[in-house]
Amino acid sequence: MSADAHAGHDHGDRAHDHGHDDGRDHGSMKSYLTGFILSVILTAIPFYLVMTGAIENKNWTIAIIVAMAMVQIVVHMIYFLHMNTTSDSGWTMMALIFTLIVVVIALSGSLWVMYHLNVNMMPVHDMRNML
């Protein structure tokens, strides 16, 4: 393949890039209202559960409110922040995934390490030394 033919081919490939559609979604009335209604539901249920103590088992209550929070964060990401995989050639999604990985490692690591420090280094009430 000659150099000339290669250059020509490359040029043709880039032509559509100049249109510069960044794939960014700016939302619509419908998407904002959908997000809002879902958020209201996902906020009202946890507050109702905790304020009325509807579920006896505390662990179940905590599991449900944490699950609802996770879902609501995703709802906000999609309907309010308009996250998708195409905006800025997917770099916003890349940055988000990277951040989530760092956040999960830092959060779970901190809680895990500090919990075990607490358990294993609890002062033993040994009175013999105080005599």
């Binding site: 964060i73 906000h76 990401m77």
Partner: protein
Amino acid sequence: MSASIQTMNGDVPVFYVADEHDHPPGQSTMLGFWLYLMSDCLIFAMLFATFGVLGTSYAAGPGPKDLFDLKLVALNTAMLLFSSITYGFAMLEMMKGKKNTTLLWLAITGLFGFAFLCIELYEFHHMIHEGAGWWRSAFLSSFFTLVGTHGLHVTFGIIWLVVLMVQVAKFGLIEANQRRLMCLSMFWHFLDVVWIGVFTFVYLMGVVR
């Protein structure tokens, strides 16, 4: 692009990208601002981790059940949620190019944000008045740092909002102002996302435990 060799005048090779596409101002602003938000997210993650570790160290002081008024927190959450949807309406009006309704929705958003701040400051004042300030225990130190940092973000968001309203009123919905409004939109919705974490992990789980 691949290192292609384009020939000029038939025989002189040119070793640079001959068809460099232009970079209009602000083309990469949204991605850059998103990266800033992600770094902000890390700050909040650290504060959440701190609260997670210290959140049960009451130092024989008051705990979440004595201090938190969930009705107030529910009201606060509603304020922030309303401000999110009204900011969405402002963005929709901006897309249609309607300056006055954009300003109106922005003003409503600002008022909801301000109401949120007032309720939060009332809560802080109430707690400090009862002697449950940040000096009382590790739980309260981490609580005030986490919730206070979020409140500080909302404060600066409101200042930014007012500045942008003046900008839009003066210069109209020019492209630069649209870009700025989109950045603030991301910032504002991001703060609402952080608040979901705050009311779940700090307030609700604190009261349940």
